[in-house]
């Protein structure tokens, strides 16, 4: 997994609540047996219209927006557990997703793929959307060490929570398998004393 410390870029706004993982990557694209190529189909049915033409109104197709931070509405990533959603967002080039609320499974999947979910207050989320609306070139800084997100050129800054263990993993590029394998003896001992 790639290491994550600080990230500063412009951001893409997606001001829609309850974005489910079926929207992030529709089920018909889940037939692959590797992790490659999902970025091409991220938000497929919002990026393209029913005839397969580019939907120019969709935020990802708007040339004024760029950067590898996605700022999304409340309850992002709800629905299916498909990790393909995280692979698709990473594949497209996102490194950070900001929302006022994340669905559980998506959040875990994102962290396991070096994609940082940053949960902010609703008021700060509104401030982020407002900043992009005023100037699409606004830069945002996400600092994992200090657990802060700030709007460059302003005093606006907010801290975010992250599990300390997951923070260590993100910063160092570790994953859970390494940790679990290091505990193999403990797991085997647990199996022996397990009553049921």
């Amino acid at each position: 997994m790639e290491k994550f410390t600080t990230h500063t870029t412009q951001a893409v706004p997606l001001n829609i609540a309850n974005v489910d993982t079926d929207q992030i990557i529709p089920a018909r694209f889940l037939k692959a047996t590797d992790k490659k190529g999902f970025g091409d189909n991220v938000f497929r049915d919002w990026r393209f219209d029913k005839s397969g033409n580019l939907n120019t109104e969709f935020t990802l197709n708007n040339p004024i927006y760029s950067g590898s931070i996605l700022i999304a509405g409340d309850n992002f990533g709800c629905g299916s557990s498909r990790e393909h959603a995280a692979w698709a967002l990473v594949g497209y080039g996102f490194k950070v997703i900001v929302s006022s609320f994340f669905a559980d499974i998506f959040k875990g999947n994102a962290l396991n793929n070096g994609l940082l979910p940053v949960q902010v207050s609703e008021s700060f989320l509104s401030a982020l959307f407002a900043a992009i609306e005023t100037d699409a070139n606004t830069q945002f800084e996400v600092n994992l060490e200090t657990q802060t997100i700030s709007i460059k050129g302003t005093d606006l800054k907010e801290s975010f929570e992250i599990d300390p263990y997951k923070k260590t993993c993100m910063i160092n590029g570790y994953d859970d398998i390494d940790y679990l394998l290091s505990k193999k003896e403990l797991i085997e001992a647990f199996e022996l004393q397990k009553t049921d």
Partner: protein, 460 residues
């Protein structure tokens, strides 16, 4: 200390705790399917890590399988390859697989309970969010991502932070025609799609105590639709009776010993939950959804609420519905009875009971997709197939089918489908399709009438 059902099962599976971090939770049973496992197998192969406990893993092919002509090679090349990959991975790693055509094949959350693989007090995971279904047995069961599938392959454990606890209590007597699906759609419509995020939910009260195991599975199945990783119902005589004598259930003395343990699992009197909600059974009516998330549900006799939120409006635009209007008399061309929510024998009995002696409306395509080969056999043996055939319904072969439309079972663009599945997300049942979630009874009635009707008027 007073403990909840969830605490008891969780605490019995903690291998170790990391200071200020997650716990290592031991997983008893790992269910896998073709869509979310291949990348996990690849990960292990790339890192030369063996599968740690292959005999605690059970595989089935369900998401991507055709529901017609299952005896023939799968036509779609990518699907065929994905299914072949599952077979190869299972063979290589000594994992039991119920592949297409096997007598135990079926939707993962239908086949595991009916084979007695699911038992009270266990921890179970699967790379599928509806793993919450198994909580109906008093099991900690939840969906995981593919990275976690790889972790369980490697260590039979997961690193997890213990979720908070939530209890939803529904007391009273359900009205005629109100099914378990209506109960859960009602709860989600009241609590919203993220009220359970970060929580494990226990369902309590006489409504659930009086429910069959099939009904309890329907309820727990949709816990994830309110954000809860899992739902649980205390195991009782109904649970033990269901598990008894099933293929992989413990037998004789071993079973009795288990039951003695399972009886210790229900939440202690006075145990404290982080959040509690109470509802009255009498307030619940047959439900339908009008929007693009499962929380957007109303009683079938109600009108769509008025809300100025842009996401709400976007949702109604997609559905081509208007705020303040009723769904009654909306013409419907597609009806789907199936999915891990409602594809068990009881669901087909309810539908057949209503359909018997009637004929579907000409405009309707009605698909019935059993949850497993065993359910399919039951449908035939109980004579339900004849009833459905006579009514013009199409009984297909088992699988996830039009719930997520990964296979060819897609609802056409702009068409409404009254569906017994669990998600009404945009395009869930095929690009541009519009899903209305409902119970098997409402779905059957819709197929007969060719439009949504107020079923309560027929029943009372």
């Amino acid at each position: 200390m007073k403990k909840t059902l969830f605490d008891k099962v969780w605490d019995a599976h903690v291998v170790d705790s990391i200071q200020d971090g997650p716990q290592i939770l031991y997983i008893d049973k790992h269910l896998i399917h073709e869509v979310t496992s291949p990348q996990a197998f690849n990960e292990l192969a790339d890192r030369k890590i063996p599968v740690f406990r292959p005999n605690q893993i059970v595989a089935t092919a369900d998401h991507n399988t055709p529901t017609l002509d299952q005896h023939l090679p799968v036509r779609d090349e990518l699907s065929r390859k994905q299914l072949a990959q599952l077979s190869e991975n299972c063979k290589k790693n000594n994992i039991t697989l119920y592949e297409l055509g096997h007598k135990y094949n079926g939707i993962v959350h239908v086949m595991a309970p009916e084979l007695g693989i699911t038992q009270p007090g266990m921890t179970m995971v699967c790379g599928d969010s509806h793993t919450s279904t198994h909580g109906a047995f008093g099991t900690i069961a939840f969906g995981i991502g593919t990275s976690q599938v790889a972790q369980v392959f490697a260590s039979q454990c997961l690193l997890l932070t213990k979720p908070k606890s939530l209890r939803v209590t529904v007391n009273g007597t359900l009205k005629n025609g109100v099914l378990p699906k209506d109960v859960i759609l009602y709860i989600i419509s009241k609590l919203g799609t993220n009220s359970g995020t970060g929580y494990f939910c226990e369902y309590a009260g006489d409504v659930f105590e009086n429910m069959s195991m099939e009904g309890r599975m329907t309820v727990c199945n949709m816990s994830i639709e309110m954000g809860a990783r899992g739902g649980m119902i205390a195991p009782d005589a109904t649970t033990f009776e269901y598990v008894k004598d099933r293929e992989f259930a413990p037998k004789k003395d071993a079973f009795d010993a288990k039951v003695a343990y399972w009886k210790t699992l229900p939440t202690d009197e006075g145990a404290v939950f982080d959040k509690e909600y109470y509802f009255d059974a009498e307030d619940i009516e047959p439900m339908v959804t009008y929007g693009t998330n499962p929380g957007m549900g109303i009683k079938i006799s109600e009108t769509i609420p008025v809300d100025n939120d842009p996401s709400f409006k976007k949702s109604l635009d997609y559905m081509n519905f208007e705020a303040g209007k009723s769904l009654i008399d909306t013409p419907i061309n597609f009806v789907f009875i199936g999915s891990c929510t409602n594809s068990r024998i009881e669901d087909f009995r309810v539908a057949a009971d209503y359909v018997k002696g009637k004929r579907k409306a000409d405009n309707v395509t009605a698909w019935l997709v059993p949850g497993s080969k065993q359910v399919e056999t039951q449908i035939i043996n109980e004579g339900l197939k004849d009833i459905f055939n006579a009514a013009g319904f199409e009984l297909r072969q088992p699988g996830c089918s039009a719930c997520l439309a990964m296979n060819d079972d897609k609802i056409p663009q702009n068409e409404y489908c009254v569906s017994t599945s669990n998600r009404n997300f945009e395009g869930r049942q095929g690009p541009g399709s519009r899903t209305i979630l409902a119970s098997p009874l409402v779905a059957a009635a819709t197929a007969i009438e060719g439009k949504i009707i107020d079923i309560t008027k027929q029943l009372n």
